[in-house]
Amino acid sequence: MTSDPLLAQLKFRDPQKARALAAALQREVDAIGRDEITVMHVCGSHEQSIARFGIRALLPRQLSLIMGPGCPVCVTDAPEIDEGVALARQGCRVLTYGDMLKVPGTVQSLGDAQADGGKVDVVYGVEQAVEIAKARPDEEVVFFSSGFETTAVGTAAAILRGLPKNLSVLSAHKYVPPAMEIVAGMPGSKVEAFLAAGHAAIITGCDCFRPMARKYRMPIVVTGFEPLDVLAAVLKTVEMIRRKEHDVANCYPRCVTGPGNLPAQKMLWRVFEPVGGQWRGIAVIPDGNLRLKPEFAAVDARRRFRIDVKGLWDYAPRQLADRCICGEIMAGFKSPKDCPLFGKECLPESPVGACMVSSEGTCKIWHQYGGVPDLKEVG
């Protein structure tokens, strides 16, 4: 394999630097002297950058860079989708992010509900939901919000400012740090270090990862999603593995600080409380779901409406979904090539599992950027 075309793709960023980083990485890996070193990132944007710029091909053979639960849409569980579907069937207008439409529910996706005549619309953010609710004062409008803490802060800000009377929020927001802990602690987990997602850390800061780094004895490196950011962070991570530094490093200082954005955290925790819940295919994540606090009951769709999900469950769940291995992929045990449905029954047009749905899902990204972007896997 020649890495030159890949370096050419990185050209606009500085191929020399990329080459130097790759060489340094090889030296570090050689110094560790093991055959298998596994680093997990938990950010869909990291995966996009890694796949788009061919970063895996620059990595030493011994080093695996895998994606964990990095996409809030992928980990949204079927019963959560069912709530949105049920609300649409009960006559509400359900607004949500585009990626959410195809996520399979127990019986229907939101897209199916829309095709059935349900009022389901795509929005880019909560502000747009506010506009739509204002324009339709005679309808009950529900913003089915998903996303990690970065996105949840926006929802919180809008709620604190006050929503139109006919608008409520169905929160599928997720909180990443507890999920990282669960994955780190899984028996047999190969994960030796995390790359933490830079944009979430703009809000949470990077200090919050320190207890986890100590407890699980692993480096946690925060970084951005530009190709050289990712490479530099991987180098830092491997260096820390070699030195057995079980600590946090910030490779994204232009955006991330130690304590993070404190006013934003305040807004987040004013409005939301963390509760345990199932993340699709992964596990029950204690404190992994963000739900509205009781004092915001008036704008909480779960409290405003009697959501009839049971009525949906009379139908049999989809057969194929049982064979989907999304969870094992997100937990780092398997890759899409281990899934018998990948690229066959399961395609971006007709996704079986959630990983094929969102533009940040591992299966979708692998499918889009050439099936098996990780050259080590074919060679």
């Binding site: 880019y124 996105t151 809000i203 955006c255 934003a264």
Partner: protein
Amino acid sequence: MCLGVPGKVLAIDGLNATVDFFGVKKELRLDVVDEPVSVGDYVLNHVGFAIRRIPAEEVGETLALFDQILKDVAPDDLMAADVIGEMAAGKEQGK
């Protein structure tokens, strides 16, 4: 939904800012950003909210990537699609 896209602040009205994203003008909310933002600053937009003021000396670095991504957008380029979606998250100007 998950990307942050940088843009230049053109005007500020209370907690609303008009921001230029590579030629597209949008309105963003300033509720979340933790530093004072002024006209001429660059901010990172996430689902219609500025989440970070980008330090002046870092702006060039950050913009180069987006320039590249947006230059030749292949129809199946997921990352470009996300960037464009994120830009669309701002309110249309004048609405």
